[in-house]
Subunit: 291 residues, 2 copies
């Protein structure tokens, strides 16, 4: 799915909602574990059925599958196959794996997610640089979603670092003028490795004060924006700052939807939570005369 097709899908579904399938086996309703041999997949299947009318993308986070070992891997395989063949589709699928390694090894991560499992996209950590990311850019119609400015507190440890003036310069009374933050360097540099059809960026909704400047710096690329809901970001503020002429954003909600209820009504509550976000998104798109 290229950028044009993704935008068209968003406008058709009147939603830029991505649902994070962070399916923690300890949080899914107990009856599923008593009833099914693969409760993680069954939970995902029911969540997908309940929400696919309102979502344009799904994003399983690998941490919650790997912790169940080979059984978890099986749940993941069944989930991506279910999504790929769903009559409510197509949807955009993202493996939230945050992988990257030296080029020789990254090739195998890329094949795993973009070829074997056939996800549309995979999240990629940029710390190891160009040769660690490039293998993810070799699959036509597939995407690397590069971590830029993440939604967690640790984003403040390195991503927003700016050069410090050494004491020597302070002695001269010289103030900083413009100094790039580290995530800005990451975005500017990594933009050169691919195109707006195969690179997206993770930009956390919790960093709303920086979203506007990120969009100025990277006008054309899609952003995958986590951190709405449980993590606290506001949808309207995000849209105002981060949307572009192609919509340009996928907004992710995970726990706020899939664990809206931990009881037997979890599908209904998930559907309602997804619908509420979809309605807000539809209004935002209407407000911009995009639909």
């Amino acid at each position: 799915m290229n950028k044009k097709e993704l935008t068209a899908l968003i406008l058709k579904k009147k939603s830029f909602l991505c649902i994070g399938l962070d399916t923690d086996i300890d949080k899914i309703p107990a009856f599923l574990k008593e009833t099914y041999d693969d409760p993680v997949f069954e939970f995902n299947r029911m969540i997908i059925d309940a929400t696919i009318d309102f979502a344009v993308a799904y994003k399983p986070n690998l941490a919650f599958y790997e912790c169940n070992g080979k059984k978890g891997w099986e749940s993941l395989e069944k989930t991506i196959n279910y999504l790929s063949g769903h009559q409510g589709g197509p949807v955009f699928t993202i493996a939230d794996a945050k992988r990257a390694d030296i080029g020789n090894s990254s090739i195998y991560y890329a094949r795993t997610f973009l070829e074997n499992l056939n996800f549309d996209a995979v999240t990629v950590n940029p710390y190891m640089g160009k040769d660690s990311v490039e293998p993810f850019l070799q699959f036509p119609g597939k995407w690397a979603v590069i971590l830029a400015l993440t939604s967690n507190s640790g984003a403040h440890d390195f991503q927003v670092l700016q050069p410090q003036l050494p004491l020597l310069l302070e002695k001269f009374g010289i103030k900083t003028c413009y100094w790039k933050k580290f995530y800005e360097v990451v975005m500017e540099e990594s933009m050169k490795w691919g195109s707006t059809d195969n690179i997206m960026y993770v930009v956390g909704a919790t960093q709303a004060d920086m979203l506007g400047s990120v969009r100025e710096l990277v006008p054309e690329h899609f952003f995958l924006i986590p951190g709405v809901g449980v993590q606290g970001g506001s949808l309207e503020a995000i849209a105002a700052k981060a949307m572009n002429k192609d919509v340009g954003i996928l907004v992710n909600s995970s726990r706020g939807i899939i664990f809206a209820s931990e009881g037997e009504d979890f599908e209904d509550k998930a559907r309602l939570a997804a619908l509420a976000l979809k309605k807000k998104m539809e209004r935002i798109l209407q407000g911009r005369s995009m639909i």
Copy 2:
């Protein structure tokens, strides 16, 4: 295994060799694929048997297991179990997974590798900061091996970045004095999150010119040093620059050992390649009067 125990094991085995089990199913001898249902595990088993006399650590790289799906996960489980119960042990085991996510998700990655699979250590990517790394530091006797300065060409994209003097300052004729490189900031900051008993750093052998200054900056921590052999680093140069009073280094070789031969003699050739490195290491330890 704490730092003291790891040092003792190195001195006992007269080796600081880590063998990378980058078991690419397309590169293992054909007869294994014809003979065994799980050729990846059987290859690992034979490599381990052939080399455990000379190695102090083993490091499977997850990329090569994930690409085989749930079957790959099974090979990994069998490999770590085989290592844990080996009569030639104990050995230090590292899951080269390069994981990290927001704290809520990183917990599951940490459990996967340090609890469920029971590795001694897991490689961790620091880009997402403190809350993404801390979950890996909660297991007594277990380690996070944080990527600092990696061995690949992409290390030069972000890790070695230094602040650039803006033009304004150049106009004043002011030269840079000391400016920290990004990986130095990462090391200095992340050192505060744990201790020398639960944090190690990846420092690539291919960056030999920087190894000395890294050791000055981080005097007490163990370094996991990849990049010897196929990637080109020299063992003597590394040891001279990076060893400390506790030995303080694990030097990894992957392809140079496990794919020393792709024929039926692969075990013998792997053993010889491991022995050659072990002998060099023994001489280095003797030269420093450590054994």
